[in-house]
């Protein structure tokens, strides 16, 4: 690529970035710049440790280069937050260790803090569906509360829990059958990985659990509201373990990783106030640009 072409491409990139940021600003999302470094003592429950990039600061303390922006953003505001509704947006680089190398990714994201769950979910999902329409993306939702209840119900060892989640995610019937699950739970799981699709009501009747039914009703309500713009995949999983409600991912053709990852979280980190609920998303900007350019 010649210098002229490169400069033109950078110009186009900036234009697209500004477009997304402007859209978020118009909806009241204020731009913030979360910290790059995180404390090394982050609970592994929230961030999987095997992909983290760790560095030593000038005092010799071990730090983590942020694997996502949400954690530091919430960390920055959690002590002073007193129930107000906050709409925040960011644009930053994240770091991950993959195949022995440090990979970076530019993310543009938004966090909606303090707004009541139902309204908040809809606001963020509307932004996500608008963004995904521009690149012919497919919006898929699930509910992390559903998966958590299901995990409690199957009552497996931590090692088998990983195998179970992996089998659900990869639609692996054989492994699900090998885990000695109780008959109705196994039936529900097999329906979840069934290629012909499934009825949420059927899953709810098989699992007979109030929290699961509540999560499924919530998904159905959202699905109805968005009238075909979103689809449900109960086996949708995520690498971040802090989500507590709706999960959302956007897929685009010819791209293996979701272009947008998002969801509702409560209790993201120790010290986060109990009533501090939030929903947010992050968009992989480089992939977004590749799709925009076609």
């Amino acid at each position: 690529m010649s210098l002229k072409e490169w400069l033109q491409e950078e110009k186009n990139t900036l234009k697209e970035k500004e477009k997304i940021k402007r859209t978020l600003s118009q909806k009241g999302y204020q731009w913030v710049d979360p910290e790059y470094l995180m404390d090394d003592k982050v609970d592994e429950k929230y961030l999987r440790s095997e992909h983290l990039v760790k560095v030593l600061d000038s005092q010799g303390h071990l730090k983590i280069l942020r694997p996502e922006c949400t954690y530091n953003l919430i960390d920055a505001i959690k002590d002073d937050w007193s129930g107000q509704i906050l709409r925040l947006q960011y644009d930053g680089v994240i770091f991950e260790r993959k195949e022995g190398e440090i990979k970076t990714q530019r993310q543009i994201g938004a966090e909606l803090i303090g707004l009541e769950e139902e309204e908040g979910d809809l606001e963020i999902l509307e932004i996500i569906t608008d963004l995904s329409q521009a690149i012919s993306g497919m919006v898929v939702i699930s509910h992390s509360g559903f998966l958590r209840e299901l995990l409690d119900m199957v009552n497996l060892s931590p090692e088998d829990e990983v195998i179970f989640m992996d089998a659900l995610h990869h639609k692996n019937e054989d492994i699900l059958r090998s885990l000695n699950l109780k008959a109705p739970v196994l039936e529900a799981c097999l329906k979840m990985v069934d290629l012909q699709g499934y009825d949420l009501q059927e899953i709810s009747e098989l699992l007979k659990d109030d929290n699961i039914t509540q999560a499924l009703v919530r998904l159905k309500t959202i699905n109805d509201k968005f009238d075909g713009k979103v689809s449900i995949d109960l086996a949708l999983t995520t690498k971040f373990h802090y989500y507590s409600g709706i999960l959302c991912q956007v897929f685009v053709k010819d791209c293996n990783e979701p272009l947008i990852l998002g969801g509702r979280y409560q209790g993201l980190m120790p010290g986060m106030k109990k009533d501090m609920t939030a929903i947010g998303f992050a968009l992989d900007f480089e992939t977004y640009m590749r799709k925009v350019k076609g």
Binding site: V140, D174, F251
Partner: protein, 205 residues
């Protein structure tokens, strides 16, 4: 156009036999030296690939579907959907030792030669047993004969190679067979077509 990657060798023969039963892959001739076959009538392209590469091609989305052994999928640890079992290419993973000496399994610092270090590592980890894996590319039967390892982990079909080298199975691990796999994103965008193929396969199996 749906692209299907097939593992070269016996699995691709099994796969093409299966697709022919569905009245697909009419013009695919595995005896030719071609690696790409286009079935314009059914809008399917078949690619012949090395077994390990099938999973790589599927995971990266270069092909939408793949036919490959579950051994290759497990060893690769790649993230693909496993859509259905194809009921051919059946064999099993086993542990074998010289003369069938079961005692070696209780040995401390057990040395295991294998072409499948990931599968072997995971299997013994589940048993809370520390082992030393000796990764080899082929002829693993030689390792215990030469005193290089205490046992081997390998795929066993007929057991003839083991017998010829004075090795006996001391533990069967699990069964292996051909699977139809799919790229996770491709599946979402071609769900109807892929489901149709899977449903037809299930009908003839």
């Amino acid at each position: 156009m749906i692209k299907i990657g097939l593992a070269k060798g016996r699995l691709s023969e099994g796969a093409i036999d299966l697709f022919k039963k569905l009245n697909m892959a009419d013009d695919v001739n595995l005896k030719s030296r071609k690696l790409v076959f286009e079935d314009l009538k059914h809008q399917v392209t078949y690619l012949l690939l090395k077994p390990k590469d099938v999973v790589t091609y599927v995971e990266s989305g270069v092909v939408d579907l793949g036919v490959v052994g579950s051994d290759v999928i497990l060893e690769s640890k790649k993230s693909v959907y496993q859509l259905c079992d194809l009921d051919f290419g059946k064999c099993k993973f086993s542990i074998a030792s010289v003369g069938g000496n079961v005692g070696v399994l209780n040995q401390k610092n057990l040395k295991v030669a294998t072409k499948y270090p990931n599968i072997t590592g995971d299997y013994f980890k589940k048993r809370n047993q520390k082992i030393q894996i000796i990764p080899l590319e082929g002829s693993v039967e030689l390792a215990p004969l030469m005193g290089f390892s205490d046992c081997i982990v390998d795929i066993v079909e007929t057991g003839k190679t083991l017998k010829a080298n004075n090795l006996k199975i001391i533990e069967d691990m699990f069964l292996v067979s051909a699977k139809l796999i799919s790229n996770k994103v491709s599946y979402r965008f071609n769900q109807e077509r892929i489901n149709q193929i899977v449903a037809s396969i299930k009908e003839v199996l």
